[in-house]
């Protein structure tokens, strides 16, 4: 009886996992098939869509890399990503440390204040930003994104770093101070190296946010050579009513898979930092 129950529980467990995985991953499986299917196979409603009824093809990827500036968009996204990562680290790492260690009660209030910037989302800010960016002459320039993106990465990453720094034992900083460093020296030489996993998490997270961002890029940028992936792909592979499905799906897969793999390594730390500040 107990054994039957155990087997039942295992089947139930497996069923739940399988159902959820199918839900989250099916669109990507579908993208994969679509990417390599010939167009006339895609649009023949008589064909079984799960199968390759004509031989697989690379024509969609060719469109993506040859007929559009997909490679350049990835490059642009990386340029913006790296610049935003640098700005974010320079601002958020010291700020997170300050909130975790150096500021007492007013620091807690400020931490909550920084948290509350989530409540002023891009949806509220993109309209004034469209004017600010125009007034600064940054329209249609990647630099507009470099300027604006830290406005949502810095609060988030400050919060994350605060969480990480809170988990560093105080003893270790104090030992460093007794061993001849100032408070700031202990921060630079001991706390930052110890928190390298946290910093990596911030880097990956920032890159993901930059890659995801849509509203600002849509508002600020129009010319093809300055687009990022998330905006270039839908702009140039959707012509009126014509969707280049194969290329669109390939474009999504190519940028998602590597980031997802990276993410899988860091998701635990990311979540730990995410929730330490909020709940404790």
């Amino acid at each position: 009886m107990q054994r039957l129950k155990n087997i039942g529980a295992r089947i139930g467990h497996f069923g739940i996992i399988a159902a959820f995985t199918a839900f989250t991953a099916f669109p990507f499986y579908w993208m994969l098939i679509t990417t390599f299917k010939q167009t006339n196979d895609l649009i023949n409603t008589k064909n079984n869509p799960f199968l390759f009824n004509s031989p697989p093809t690379l024509e969609h990827l060719q469109v993506l890399f040859v007929d559009t500036q997909y490679g350049l968009w990835i490059f642009n996204t990386l340029v913006v990503g790296v610049a935003v990562v640098i700005i974010t680290l320079l601002l958020a790492v010291p700020a997170g440390y300050s909130l975790a260690r150096l500021s007492g009660r007013w620091g807690q209030q400020l931490a909550i204040g920084i948290f509350l910037t989530y409540l002023v989302p891009p949806t509220i800010l993109f309209i004034p930003f469209s004017r600010i960016v125009a007034d600064l002459g940054l329209q249609d320039s990647l630099w507009s994104l470099v300027l604006v993106y830290p406005s949502f990465t810095v609060p988030f990453c400050t919060w994350l770093m605060m969480g990480f720094f809170k988990t560093v034992p105080k003893d270790i900083e104090e030992a460093a101070m007794i061993d001849g460093l100032s408070r700031f020296g202990a921060f630079l030489k001991v706390v930052v190296p110890i928190s390298s996993a946290g910093i990596l998490t911030v880097i990956i997270f920032t890159l993901t946010l930059v890659m995801q961002e849509f509203v600002y890029a849509l508002t600020f940028i129009t010319s093809s050579s300055q687009l990022t992936v998330s905006i270039g792909v839908p702009t140039f592979l959707v012509r009126g009513d014509v969707y280049f499905w194969g290329s669109l799906m390939g474009a999504c897969l190519i940028v998602s898979i590597p980031i997802a793999i990276l993410y899988n390594f860091f998701v635990d730390r990311f979540v730990a930092g995410f929730t330490v500040g909020a709940v404790k």
Binding site: H13, I16, I17, F20, T21, T24, A25, P27, L42, T45, P49, L90, L91, P94, A95, Y97, S98, L102, S103, L110, I114, L116, T117, V120, P121, T123, I124, L125, F126, I127, R131, I132, P150, S151, V154, P155, T158, R183, F184, F214, V215, T219, S230, V233, P234, Y243, L248, M249, C252, V255, S256, I259, A260, I261, N264, V267, A272, F274, T275, V279
Partner: protein, 303 residues
């Protein structure tokens, strides 16, 4: 005695100054790039600013008045609330179930976790286009499969994004798909932070699965689930990408939400003032939701 006291405050001042110095750049940046535009948004909402205009005139609350008289706004507000409430309810319930399933160790967990995280890392615009293809009126894989396995009769051919109720259900489904991974990993982290001792104690005390769930898991997880919910609410309520890509607010504004309406009015329509005013309606609602959820989280906190 006195000297020591005075000097102590000096030293504390020193640490506090270092603290302020390290915090200042971030705070200044945030003030300049969140605070200032936010004030500007308020200012625009009280003016007649358009994309091309050089001068602004103060028009008081006229924009707000116009918005409140506009039935599309009320439709969008209602849609946004339905969109957010239904999708987040689903996300929390499904996230809890999935997190509990992932809590156990099993073979291939790494791969499963990878597959479950995918929707969260894919650029939202591109992920949504993937769904656009799945929901395509002619080539929809859902319809093909439905007919192939006999679920849909020969006359049934739902147009997922073209029929009012189906369209709302579809965008909700995509939003659930996109936010489920985040909620799951947050709840999973909370689950892992419950000491194993407590589970063991409940086991020894003879708790059934349901009692374990309702007396141990859910109460202890409440704070972290509320935090996950807060992030989900903020992301969903202010999101326009899913809607922008999938339906553009249609059909007949049945999926129009405040965020997308602000974009179409402010940027595509060129009426910065009214767009800003529409988007500002998000703010008090978000603050109310945040205060409510965080208070609840504090209250349910056990330790």
């Amino acid at each position: 005695m006195r000297q020591g006291a005075v000097l102590q405050s000096d030293k504390q001042e020193q640490e506090a100054w270092l603290g302020r110095l390290m915090l200042a750049p971030a705070v200044i940046y945030i003030a300049a790039l969140v605070g200032f535009p936010f004030l500007l948004a308020i200012y625009y909402s009280l003016s007649d600013a358009t994309v091309g205009s050089q001068t602004l005139h103060f028009v008081g609350l006229r924009n707000f008045q116009r918005i409140l008289e506009n039935s599309t706004f009320w439709t969008s507000l209602r849609n946004a609330l339905v969109f957010t409430f239904v999708s987040q309810l689903l996300v929390v319930i499904l996230g809890k179930i999935l997190a509990m399933a992932l809590y156990k160790d099993f073979r291939g967990k790494w791969l499963v976790r990878f597959l479950i995280l995918l929707p969260w890392v894919a650029p939202i615009s591109l992920g949504s286009i993937g769904w656009l293809w799945i929901f395509d009126p002619i080539y929809s894989i859902i319809n093909w499969t439905g007919r192939a396995i006999g679920l849909f009769g020969p006359t049934t051919w739902p147009i997922w994004l073209g029929q009012p109720n189906l369209a709302m259900a579809s965008v909700i489904m995509v939003d659930v798909w996109r936010l489920l991974p985040l909620a799951t990993v947050i709840i999973l982290a909370g689950l892992c932070s419950i000491p194993q001792d407590i589970h063991d104690a409940a086991e020894v005390d003879g708790a059934s699965f349901w009692r374990h769930l309702t007396y141990i898991n859910i109460p202890l997880l409440m704070p972290i689930m509320l935090v996950a919910l807060l992030f989900g609410v903020v992301f969903t309520f202010t999101d326009m990408i899913v809607i922008f890509v999938l339906t553009r607010g249609g059909p007949y504004d049945t999926t129009q939400v405040i965020a997308s309406l602000a974009y179409f009015t402010g940027i595509q329509g060129g009426d910065l003032a009214e767009g800003a005013a529409i988007s500002l309606f998000l703010f008090p609602l978000l603050v109310a939701a945040a205060v409510f959820l965080l208070t609840l989280a504090k209250r349910t906190e056990v330790t």
